[in-house]
Symmetry: C2
Subunit: 190 residues, 2 copies
Amino acid sequence: MMIINFVTSNKNKVLEAQARLGAGFCVRQWDVDCPEIQADTLEEVALASAQHVIEKHAPKEAFILEDAGLFVDALKGFPGPYSHFVHDTLDCKGILKLLESANGKGRNARFEAVLVYTVPGKKPALFKGICRGKIAESQAGKNGFGFDPIFVPDGESRRFAEMKPEEKGKYSHRGLALGAFANYVKSLKV
Amino acid sequence: MMIINFVTSNKNKVLEAQARLGAGFCVRQWDVDCPEIQADTLEEVALASAQHVIEKHAPKEAFILEDAGLFVDALKGFPGPYSHFVHDTLDCKGILKLLESANGKGRNARFEAVLVYTVPGKKPALFKGICRGKIAESQAGKNGFGFDPIFVPDGESRRFAEMKPEEKGKYSHRGLALGAFANYVKSLKV
């Protein structure tokens, strides 16, 4: 059994990580103050947050933290690292409005998640998950959160918010990043 | 003559500050690495940046730094602290698109600037400038930068980008914050 400290204020992310990592892991929330910087990439944001936690709290145990966002091709990657703020202000309907006259490839987008794993005294390891898809022409579905009601992953006709959590997990950026992390820590034990 | 170290990567801001503060001051650029955090208010962003500069560089002299943004009422304050990123991605035309069907008060907006003044060993002082106005229905003008081509300050019919720098300076958020700062430091000398 491996204990994973997850620096996040979002309990749903902890539950999602526990479900994805399975019985060999025990994921516990570490809800510590952790500012995010303004940067163009999730990698920069997540690494700076991890560095902040190390400098302020000098943890003696390993921890993970994660940053995620929606990147719309035709909007030059907007809302990207600022997806949370943009969801709070413009909401899904703002993205739909911005893409009102876009068709076909003009609606291409991707969800990205970057997970940072830090072990005291070692260089942080990064794991990235990317889920490509399209922005739907309307909102639908009640599952998930954030921009899930307008995102249709490639190979699907349903939006994330129309899927059960375990279905979403197969495709999702967060699921992919967690899977890569799980493979990494399992490989270290062999 | 008072020397003012201005932490910024933007030379235009230095020139604007020198012009506003006048002959009693010498504004010099200090282009030091200074990450901005993600936060809901400019005050939080600017104070965290100042704190970072103090912790990383332990400056022996006083310095100022500034954060500014456009806040659209009907968009819950979007783009706010992320105005730079939103300008780089959506540009002025994205804001116009989001407000396409808005009339009258629905186009109300404000520019805000927060200036932080830190003296070694003292608590930072904050100066805020707010310029209220409206988002125009189209872009025009070639002066200024950022969202100046779509912002009409109250009491004017022209956009910021249609004004000469000295005209804009009378209304502008940055001009107001610099003026408040200038009055403060002058009052200390009396």
